[in-house]
C-alpha cells in the first residue's frame, strides 16, 4: 500500500475564507446603510452574525432577513445593494493562499490524484475553484449538495474515496477542522494532516500531522510514500 492521492478541504484550507467573507459582509453593510438601512454598522453586523449562526452560512437570504429585522419590512433596493457589494468585494478579495498553487504543482509532479471534499452548494464551490484558478488541478470534486449529506458524515468521505477510486489508506487528507475534517477522514482510514489556519485554528484536538503551511504537506506525503505505509 502506498499513497496515491491527496484530498483537500476547500474553505480555509486552500484559500482564506474567514477574513474575506467577513470583509465582504462589512462592506455590504456600509453600502446598505448608505442606501437607507436604519442602523449603525455595529448593530447591523451583530444582527447579521446572529442570522448567519441561526440559518447557517449556505442560507440564501441573510440580507433579506437583516433588512426585515431592522426595517420591519422587505426593502429590495437595500437588499440588492448588499448582495451586489458582497459579491463584488468577495470576488475582488478571493485568492489562493500564497502556498496553495506551489503545493498543488508539487503534488502533481508526484503523479498523485488530487481531489476536493467540501460542504456547500455545488456551483458555488466550483465557482470558487474556477475563480481561484485551481479547478484544473483536481481529478474529483465532491460537495455535500451533490452527495446529499455533508461533513462530518463518514459516508460522505466514503463517497469521495469511491469517486477517487482509492482506498482510505492510499489517501492523505488535508483540512482545518478537527470535527468536520480530521476525525471523519481518519475514521475511513485516511492519513490526515491538519492545517492550522482560519477561524478553527485553535479548535481543540490532536492530529498526528499539524502544519502551518501547505508546503509541509509535500514533505509529509513524500515521507509516507518512502515509509511505504
Amino acid at each position: 500500500m502506498t499513497i496515491k492521492g491527496v484530498l483537500f478541504d476547500l474553505d480555509d484550507t486552500l484559500y482564506d475564507s474567514t477574513t474575506f467573507v467577513d470583509r465582504a459582509r462589512k462592506e455590504a453593510i456600509k453600502m446598505m446603510i448608505d442606501a437607507g438601512l436604519n442602523a449603525t454598522e455595529e448593530e447591523a453586523y451583530n444582527i447579521l452574525q446572529r442570522i448567519i449562526k441561526q440559518k447557517g452560512s449556505n442560507y440564501g437570504h441573510h440580507f433579506d432577513d437583516l433588512v426585515k429585522a431592522i426595517e420591519g419590512q422587505y426593502n429590495p433596493k437595500i437588499v440588492t445593494m448588499g448582495i451586489i457589494t458582497y459579491h463584488n468585494v468577495k470576488f475582488a478579495l478571493l485568492r489562493p493562499y500564497p502556498d496553495t498553487i506551489k503545493t498543488l504543482i508539487e503534488l502533481k509532479k508526484m503523479r498523485l490524484k488530487l481531489g476536493v471534499v467540501t460542504d456547500g452548494i455545488t456551483v458555488k464551490q466550483w465557482e470558487k475553484l474556477i475563480r481561484l484558478g485551481i479547478a484544473d488541478f483536481f481529478d474529483e470534486v465532491v460537495t455535500s449538495e451533490e452527495y446529499g449529506l455533508g461533513k462530518p458524515n463518514i459516508e460522505f468521505y466514503r463517497y469521495a474515496l469511491k469517486k477517487m477510486n482509492l482506498k482510505g489508506e492510499e489517501v492523505v487528507y488535508v483540512g482545518d477542522r478537527m470535527d468536520n475534517d480530521i476525525i471523519p477522514a481518519s475514521k475511513v482510514g485516511m492519513h490526515t494532516i491538519r492545517i492550522l489556519r482560519g477561524k478553527y485554528k485553535d479548535m481543540k484536538g490532536k492530529c498526528k500531522y499539524e502544519v502551518k503551511s501547505l508546503r509541509e504537506v509535500v514533505d509529509i506525503v513524500k515521507k509516507l510514500i518512502e515509509e511505504g505505509v
Copy 2:
C-alpha cells in the same frame, strides 16, 4: 386631471436587454466548449435557445439543462464556467440606452413621479437598476415576483398604480411590447407610448404614440400636460 407620473417597462425600454443577453450567452457557450463541452458553438446555441423557449427566461437552470442535453449527465465544472462567463459578460455590457438618463432627468425636472413595472425576479431587476445607475430616479419599482402575477395581467398594472398612489389617467406608460405593455396599460386608463426597440419592435399593433427614442417621451408628456388631459 393632469399627468403626475411616468411608468416604464425595464428590459428593452430603459436598456438593451436583447443583444446584451444574447452576446453573454454566446460567450458563455464558447467558454463551456473550452472547458470540455462536446458540441459546436452553433449546436450548443440552438439547444440553449430551445431550452430558453421551453422553460422561460427566468428559469434558473438553462446551463445545467444544456450540459445534460449534450453530455448526457451533469457536469458542474462546465456549468459553472458557463454561469461565471455569462454574468461577467452581462455586467460588462450592461448600460442604459444613450437617451435613458437624459430623459429621466428631464422628467424629474418636471416633478413627475417615476416608476418601473417589470416582469422578473425582484432582486435581479433591482440589480439591473442599480448596476445601470438609474435606481434612484424611481419612486416605485414593482415586479411580477413581488406581486405574484405578471404582465399582461391588468391587476398587476392596478397594483403599480396603487403603489404610485395615482389614477390611470394621471400616468404615462412607456414600454416596447403591444401584448404585455401597451394593451394592459391602456386597459387601466394609462396614456401609452410604445418605444420601437429590441426584439419586439416589429410586433404587430398600433399605439397612439410610437417613438424611436426616449427623448420623444418628454415632448409627449409636456403636450399631454398642456392639453390638460
